[in-house]
Subunit: 300 residues, 2 copies
């Protein structure tokens, strides 16, 4: 079994949805990713928190055996994000972003992280994503997430790093902005020419799509009636996906498809409660049963 490296954010999130309000709960892309991936393979985390970061939140990572030697502590306050979801809850409306110590984040990989075979570059400045790539050695697969802020504001830097990764994982709105195409097939074709040999498009409640080696693979969104908080759905999808790939230890059409389902499985659980605790509490049985449910959703 291989390991997974995640470089991203650990944050304190304040989230309001039609189902309620939670203040300063544990969040961030690296948090959701690592909780999800930890069910499949060992996880190494690189992120930064402030000296106000509560010890009891750190214990959640330890409970899932996530390696947090790479979790830097900087003087100052932890990154804080506040947002709300309305209606179909497909997109967050950001109320406030306080970067705090995240503003000065420089990812530093502990030496024993540098040979991690499966690497996920979470949504941070493409310059930092490129810097991580100089610190890793001979990875099996490097996947990258990004967002409109970087596509709009740092396109050249983003294209530099896109040319060097294997897999791009973005949502449909980001694909449209990056490619200028509203048609998903046309957009993916454009994005492949920027470098990645595989692309995953996350479509919120509509599921996700993988394009790899001229082959399409679709996973539907799970028909969950009780959506409580979509925060972290994309990151937990990516975590389950990368964790499953690392567990299988190789990248083939078959392992990629399995990984798409496992990513969808953990994301489908994540949205049924606030924060990352639901992810932490999943059993292997929960995951396998939902995996089979996903198969049944499309079997003829």
């Amino acid at each position: 079994m291989s390991s997974v490296l995640i470089v991203g954010s650990v944050a304190l999130d304040t989230v309001e949805t039609p189902m309620g309000l939670r203040e300063e709960m544990l969040g961030g892309s690296a948090t959701y990713f690592s909780m999800a991936a930890s069910h499949f393979s060992p996880v190494r985390l690189v992120a930064v928190v402030g000296d106000d970061f509560p010890d009891e939140l750190r214990r959640l990572f330890e409970s899932r055996a996530v390696d947090i030697e790479g979790l830097q502590v900087s003087p100052g306050r932890t990154f804080r994000w506040s947002g709300a979801y309305h209606g179909m809850m497909n997109e967050a409306v950001t109320r406030e972003t306080q970067l705090n110590v995240f503003e000065g984040f420089r990812p530093m990989l502990p030496d024993r992280y540098r040979d991690t075979p499966f690497v996920f570059l979470g949504n941070i400045d493409p310059v930092l994503q490129a810097d991580v790539m100089t610190q890793i050695r001979a990875p099996e697969l490097v996947a990258l997430d990004t967002m409109n802020f970087w596509i709009d504001g740092a396109r050249n830097r983003l294209e530099d790093v896109l040319a060097r990764i294997d897999l791009l994982i973005i949502n449909e709105g980001e694909l449209q902005l990056l490619s200028g195409k509203s048609n998903v097939a046309a957009g993916i074709r454009d994005v492949m020419q920027m470098g990645p040999r595989s692309v995953i498009i996350k479509r919120g409640g509509y599921g996700s799509v993988l394009y790899h080696d001229s082959d399409w693979f679709f996973v539907p969104g799970y028909p969950e009636e009780r959506v409580v908080d979509p925060t972290g759905a994309g990151d937990s999808f990516a975590g389950g996906f990368m964790g499953s790939l690392a567990r299988d230890g190789e990248v083939t059409a078959r392992t990629l498809r399995r990984a798409m389902i496992y990513g969808s499985v953990v994301a489908s659980f994540n949205i049924t409660d606030f924060g990352p605790w639901k992810l932490a509490d999943l059993s292997a049985g929960d995951i396998e049963q939902r995996f089979n449910d996903f198969r049944r959703l499309v079997s003829i």
Copy 2:
């Protein structure tokens, strides 16, 4: 092999998309439905046209052996619709609707149509849909389509007929309006309580969902790069679906799932050209190959 009855509209459509403009071409729900269904089973059509309806358009139905004894000709002009599609082309913007002879349409089933086992009530006034139900005898399955105009303006009449049908086929926006729920699982649960024992939700480029006997089935949208004209996609889906069910001759979890794929297959071809001619020209080989493509899109 059973037959399919479609009651709906035959129209002259003027359509503009980013791919071009076509004026007064053959259109209408019964047209797209019958072209699609005719590849799977015999089709009987009930609709109305004016005395201006060109003979050469009538020949398209004959070329597919669609039974048009039920196509009434009334003095006056044929129903005309004009609309445009922009961007992702998921929804038409209506420019003009001239009901013309369609305004006085009273569906009259020729006597030999009355035992048709598979019946599709296209999107017309729910009073007329209910009237058709009094003319049919012991159908195997009755499916119904409707639209926001009737959900908003004739809810009581619509609920009367919903209580008497087997299968509701609507799009996601219509489900939201009908149920008041933005969550698709919650919306379907509400709609089932109005009567139908099965529901299909059409989701444009995201494919479609079937809910039947507490079981979900998802079909993705085909990743077509060259979408020319989405007009009739929903009606050709319904036609392929009902035609496949009629060909199988019985309603089971298995035949419903096959029918969902065949509906998606014909709809995926329909959108690659203006008008219903692409549907008319499909070969059995085209259809079987695309059916297998659809299986591959989701196979693990």
